[in-house]
Symmetry: none
DNA sequence: ACACGATCTGCGTGTTTATGCGGGAATCTG
DNA sequence: CAGATTCCCGCATAAACACGCAGATCGTGT
């Protein structure tokens, strides 16, 4: 068994189960523990997976609880500040939910006059602190997981909206496969949000770049702006720029 | 189960319910109490959650309302407990907003199966912590004062709802003049809510009894239950009972 | 063909980490 | 204040890990 083959096998397991145990790999690939350990070491160094005591985890799947981590918050504030340059007085803006969007709302200029449509109660509550902003909460079934409203009712209401800009956080983006996620209902929702907006901006911390999940939301051709905490000229964003996105 | 996985599971629970019990985690993750305790210890040290006796709490959203700042909280808890006797499995319930209703939601039985329509994002967020409850948030313009959705869009959606019970807090109630309030838009909203519900229950702390404000919402004949923190036989409730309300 | 270096692999050894258990302290609840 | 629960501390153990070394393999240049 060649090293490259092992690496592929390991990554296949990671993509399939989001986790893998060192001992299982020893058994599966018929090599010594040390070899597996060295493999995981290398894959970890090249950011392909997350090495932990006892095995390894998918890098995309760790997202859930990084939200409160300080470094991620810092990154999100940077993203928020960049995003503000897209927002002008008088705009009609449609937003999703998530901590990145919340952080954006907290950074908005105090005297902004705009209309915000949102599917997230948390975002609505935060937006309501600004006098100049009209907040419209789109109603529907409230998702216990994503903490946003969803379902057919939301989608049919979206059809009646014509927004200048759609701001949305994301779980995974990839130059080739575009936006992907894990929840079918939420995906349909995002598609509908994209359709009723003139421009779409994706807010995305860098660790979610170059990752794919199971379900496709939209190709990059439907997205106009990509906003990360990295400098726009960063190498790992090159692929995205060459596909026509505005990188901030 | 890898340590890191456990940490993610724990954080998922925290993000979902804002709280978690050590014993539940022991049961859920199938490890010893000490291990859970050590996990919580670590997550607490890295500021991911707030460790407390018996479990842990979310660090970020310790409820949008500050528990201790709620006026007459004890009274509202009494009201909540009385109200629960009106709620049965399978019901469709429509609620307004306000701290009294929030307190009610917090006291609901864990295994209740019901459908709740609400115009308050805060109430929706609180309701979402119950697995057995389906939460539907009615969308519309978000009022910066009352923290509920309102406007024509809300009223037209209410017309399509047929609820078993409408639960609503109040600013003022009087034996003769009925329910009164100060905000015309919110009044229209409450009228619409009453119309689409078979029964209406008013949750009301005693100091708001026998008071009138400028605008009339509804006469007592439209109300079926009056719930206060006082014993039902209290003298000052006699007038209300004689007008046909169920006093709790 | 052969020597050489680079890479890969497995083994032995000692270290670190993770976990469960017991007993006593601290805290909660009625 | 008394009983129950929860917490904390030290210890024991097994698993996982890091490191150095040596043998195997392979490609390359002479």
């Amino acid at each position: 068994m060649l090293k490259r083959e092992r690496h592929e096998q390991i990554m296949r397991q990671i993509n399939l189960h989001n986790r893998v145990l060192t001992t299982d790999l020893v058994d599966m690939l018929q090599v010594s523990e040390d070899t597996i350990r060295r493999d995981l070491q290398e894959l970890s160094e090249s950011q392909k997976l997350l090495k932990v005591h006892g095995g390894a985890l998918s890098r995309s799947y760790q997202s859930a609880y990084d939200d409160n981590a300080i470094y991620a918050r810092e990154a999100k504030i940077v993203i928020a500040k960049k995003t503000i340059s897209l927002i002008k007085n008088g705009m009609v803006i449609l937003t999703g939910g998530g901590t990145t969007i919340i952080e954006l709302v907290k950074q908005l200029p105090v005297h902004l006059k705009a209309t915000f449509f949102t599917i997230s109660p948390f975002v609505a509550i935060e937006l309501a602190k600004y006098d100049g902003i009209e907040v419209i909460l789109i109603g529907g079934i409230f998702s216990k997981n994503s903490k946003v409203t969803f379902g057919g009712h939301v989608i049919s209401q979206l059809a009646g909206i014509n927004a200048d800009l759609c701001l949305i956080g994301t779980s995974a983006i990839h130059p080739e496969y575009g936006l992907t996620d894990t929840d079918w209902e939420i995906n349909e929702l995002k598609k509908a949000m994209f359709q009723c907006s003139k421009h779409v901006a994706i807010l995305c911390i860098s660790e979610k770049l170059d990752i794919t999940l199971r379900l496709k939301v939209a190709g990059l051709e439907n997205i106009h702006h990509l906003i990360t905490e990295l400098p726009a000229e960063e190498e790992c964003l090159r692929e995205y720029r060459s596909r026509g996105l505005n990188i901030h």
